[in-house]
Symmetry: C2
Subunit: 339 residues, 2 copies
DNA sequence: CCGGGTTCTGTTAGCGATAACATCACGAGA
DNA sequence: TCTCGTGATGTTATCGCTAACAGAACCCGG
């Protein structure tokens, strides 16, 4: 080969030279502009794959002001819920021709979320999805960069942004009513940590169902979503085995902890105590006993949030804020029985 | 306000004008260039936050040829392993000042991985991490764009790229040896799906341990990582309860399925059959019985892979390919007993 | 008090694409 | 035949930043 061997990847001008056209014509071909002669188009295409040319989306983004990249801010994506939601978001975004840039926060507070949004804004994302399950984090959405399209997932409706979420209150109501329908006098609750919107919604639905049925609202135990915290709660409840006959646990992982504690204490599920979980993680069906639970369609949440976001981005203007609610689904298995 | 209200976000020139300096000086301040007078620096800083200026990383990337973004290609990030690995990658990348752009594949084949890599390359990522647990996907790394730094996670060492992975063979050996040490004559294996490198490594380690101890290698059952497939395998094994006294299961989710099947069939764990899993998912400790398993440090894998990748990127040249192996860890719980 | 190096700052020229406008060839209608 | 509209293509400017060079101010020792 001659001395002209370029290690540098080819640019549009190189393609243009080889095809004997101007770089603008190459651009037209790449962007499917109608006014290009068919013969010219094929000549350009041939030059493109002869050189192995790939267009530089960074340069493109600079002039068009659109990166076709969406930012996602999430909390701990190793958890099943966030992981599934982010997966749904990523799939929906890619189907629509967008990339996804992720920031996964270790601790979730307003400052952290704000920083993350700032980074993403600098990077030039066209819009932002915030998976903000905590009240404090959700508030960070109040100071979004002006004009930045955004949507909150499992967040807080404060009028500032659109929100997509599963109907937590309804899910908790389904769980609680199911247990009441089975003849239990009342239903205990092991909740998620304070400040989490999902935890609050589930508490609300649980209370509402009890109140509507005219039942006493018993004390509430609080966990942190982890199996271990469920285990601890289970030990406490086992000690009150006579009084407690039904428990609605705020997520499946904690429910697993309860099951373990009950097994250790010789409390039979569902014979002595019935349990309903929340989430329907893939493992729940194979717990002993298989867990009756409330399924959340995280994939749907992800997809709907991208719908809303893209509508905002592509309209170019500030659309009225929406609140989309995805219905939860009751899943009957073996951890509940009549009393 | 006057008629000069710009909706358009401020650019460097705006800051420069307000601070009474040139845009280059603003650039110097932003890039911590040493030769800037302290007073000038503060004046610029003041102008920056007076205007709420954020630099445009797209423009910066265009000229520097570095986007400070890494691409990650992964398979189904709702699974615990990939999710944890990607989380580790994201944390390590961000600590090093890099963004992460993710492509999560539904189905993993060479073409899919290649497309994903192509998109990321167009987008201008500085390097790529491929979480390629399948043989077919790993091969896609053979046709990376020239000069693109890359690293494979849980991939295949073929000399083309560096690989970071947990030592699957050693993990399987630990699991199998533990069971043999407890006095079991031999150990059965429920493997992961064919074509998965992790599944192959675990089979290899299991075989090696049996052979080294001079034990017969019994038949092998194959699952697909899901609890359901473990459940099916468990039903089969329960039917042979007399012959089978110890099972090494290729992941914890399938082990859960086995436990469920054994419970249904009245087979006691660990009294009649001992079980060892793999992964140490957060739930394992609360299975009934708590699962003895092999822990994989996914976070470490993510971090090491970013180390390797950044070293490549920042050296600017093609470094010799490395193979980094993260040791697995044996976790003793209640699902194994002496025979 | 002057030459020659530091500092500091400004000016100019790109990065690789698209947008906007200019040009040219050609055919239809006056 | 001479416009004039239209389709195909080329030319130039521009996006917002950093690199490279240029110039001004300052310090020092001789």
């Amino acid at each position: 080969m001659g001395p002209n061997v370029d290690r540098r990847p080819p640019v549009m001008a190189d393609v243009a030279r080889l095809a004997g056209v101007s770089h603008q014509t190459v651009s037209r071909v790449l962007n499917d502009h109608p006014n290009v002669r068919a013969e010219t188009r094929t000549r350009v295409m041939r030059a493109i794959d002869q050189l192995g040319y790939r267009r530089n989306l960074v340069a493109r983004a600079l002039v068009t002001k659109h990166s076709r990249t969406l930012g996602v801010v999430s909390f701990d994506t190793t958890l099943y819920g966030p992981a599934s939601t982010v997966y749904g978001i990523e799939q929906a975004a890619r189907d629509a021709g967008y990339f996804v840039s992720i920031v996964s926060l270790r601790t979730i507070d307003r400052a952290g979320v704000n920083d993350a949004i700032g980074y993403l804004a600098e990077q030039g994302v066209d819009g932002i999805v915030v998976v903000a399950p905590q009240r404090s984090a959700a508030r960070a959405l109040d100071d979004l960069p002006a004009g930045m399209p955004a949507v909150a997932v499992e967040g807080w409706h404060q009028g500032e942004v659109s929100v997509v979420s599963v109907d937590q209150v309804e899910g908790a109501r389904l769980a609680t009513s199911h247990l009441l329908d089975l003849g239990h006098e009342t239903v205990w609750h092991v909740s998620g940590p304070a400040d989490w919107l999902e935890a609050e919604g589930r508490i609300e639905g649980w209370r509402a169902a009890l109140t509507a049925a005219g039942r006493p609202v018993p004390g509430m135990l609080t966990g942190d979503w982890s199996p271990r915290s469920g285990y601890r709660a289970g030990k406490e409840l086992a000690a009150m085995a006579g009084d407690v006959t039904a428990v609605f646990v705020a997520n499946d992982q904690m429910a697993l902890g309860l099951l373990r504690a009950f097994t250790e204490e010789g409390v039979k599920v569902p014979e002595q105590i019935s349990i309903v979980g929340f989430d329907d993680i893939p493992e729940s069906e194979f717990f002993s006993p298989p867990l009756t639970t409330i399924r959340q369609d995280f994939g749907a949440v992800g997809r709907r949030s991208i719908d809303v976001l893209l509508r905002q981005i592509e309209s170019g203007e500030a659309l009225p804020h929406e609140r989309l609610v995805v219905p939860p689904q009751f899943v009957l298995r073996g951890s509940t029985a009549a009393h």
